[in-house]
């Protein structure tokens, strides 16, 4: 949280008082299609993904690791049914807050209101950055960009999920991965 705003110990205690710890097994759904997202989730341990169905195929739009937020955010913020599923990849622990609790926090403290604004701004900008990347980069560049920024996800996340997230066919993903591994030099070399 301190990335956004220096909270005093009291403020942090006040905030954490509203959080609940939620544990899930692997491949467990936190939220199904058509449900309204009630929680903003902060991932403490484990991995999770957000996806929707296009016909019978899953399309992954987010893969989250420790320290990141994952929720059906638009549903949480608007109160409308979620088109997305949020699901764990391995066993996972979240710190979560309900919409109601969050609203009560906002009205109790302008500083937490500010924290909320800064977090939502960051989420908004991440979405914008992702859109720009998808427009600017071709498949290969997107792959290389992802690999150099997320080396540990390459180890931890099943390839088919990564391929879906990058909007690539699994075969293409696999081919590129081997292509990168063969190079012994270069900044995007995988280990």
């Amino acid at each position: 949280m301190s990335v956004y705003l220096d909270l005093t110990n009291e403020e942090f205690a006040f905030l954490s008082d509203k959080l609940v710890i939620r544990n899930f097994e692997k491949k467990e759904q936190l939220l199904k299609v058509g449900e309204v997202e009630n929680y903003l989730n902060f991932l403490v341990k484990g991995l999770a993904r957000k996806y929707f169905y296009k016909g019978k195929a899953e399309v992954i739009t987010q893969i989250a690791r420790e320290g990141e937020m994952i929720s059906s955010s638009a549903s949480f913020l608007s109160g409308s049914p979620s088109p997305y599923i949020v699901e764990t990849i391995g066993p996972a622990t979240f710190l979560s807050i309900t919409r109601q609790q969050l609203e009560s926090l906002y009205s109790s403290s302008p500083r937490i209101e500010r924290l909320g604004r800064l977090i939502i701004t960051r989420l908004f900008l991440q979405k914008e950055e992702w859109e720009h990347e998808c427009i600017r980069l071709d498949t290969r560049q997107r792959f290389l960009h992802f690999v150099s920024n997320n080396p540990e996800l390459m180890q931890r996340v099943p390839q088919k999920y990564l391929a879906s997230y990058l909007n690539m066919k699994p075969e293409t993903f696999s081919r590129m991965k081997h292509g990168v591994q063969k190079k012994t030099t270069g900044r995007t070399t995988l280990r």
Binding site: S73, A74, L77, Y106, R114, R136
Partner: protein
Amino acid sequence: MAKQGFSYTTALDGLHHYLSGFVALTKAEFNFLLPYIEIREFEKKVKVIREGEVERYLNIIVRGLVRKYLPIRGDEVITQLATEGHMVHSELSFNYRTPSGSVIETIEPTVFLSISYDSLEELYTRFPKAEKLGRLMITDLFIKKDYRYFDQLQKSTRERFLDYIRNHPQMVQRVPQKYIASYLNIKPETFSRLKHLMRPKK
């Protein structure tokens, strides 16, 4: 140079109404905000921000029509078409204070109510209600962006086309077709082929 049929009083009343859609503001509170707001006017086909400039302003369109695009390899990819009542700015540049990758250009003569980055930061510290207003306005942008992203991924070209003309009939009248095609990520040839769907069914 007041445009025909345009009055600042009406525009400011409009802004008060617009902001109150997010957070109720008394006349006095709104008047406190006013000194921070600038009125900016542009002719058509003027670049409001160029690639490489740092975005100074968050704009609300009072009148007119603009497009935002990314210049890519000699081509343009339109990422936003905005008209009266819409917010438009080069978001990443505005917030991170980095050179803009996006260009914003007017399509029609356009009037903005704008707030500069510095004014906005000052407003946040001097007027606590601005925090809530800012949060809710960004939340609204976030939700819209999420829906657009979802539609791009989930819907077919034909569905995207039909949804757009159904939900934005006034844009179809005002915006050159090549811009709408680019915004919807539809090839101009495909767009032309889909146009017969635009005629209302008897």
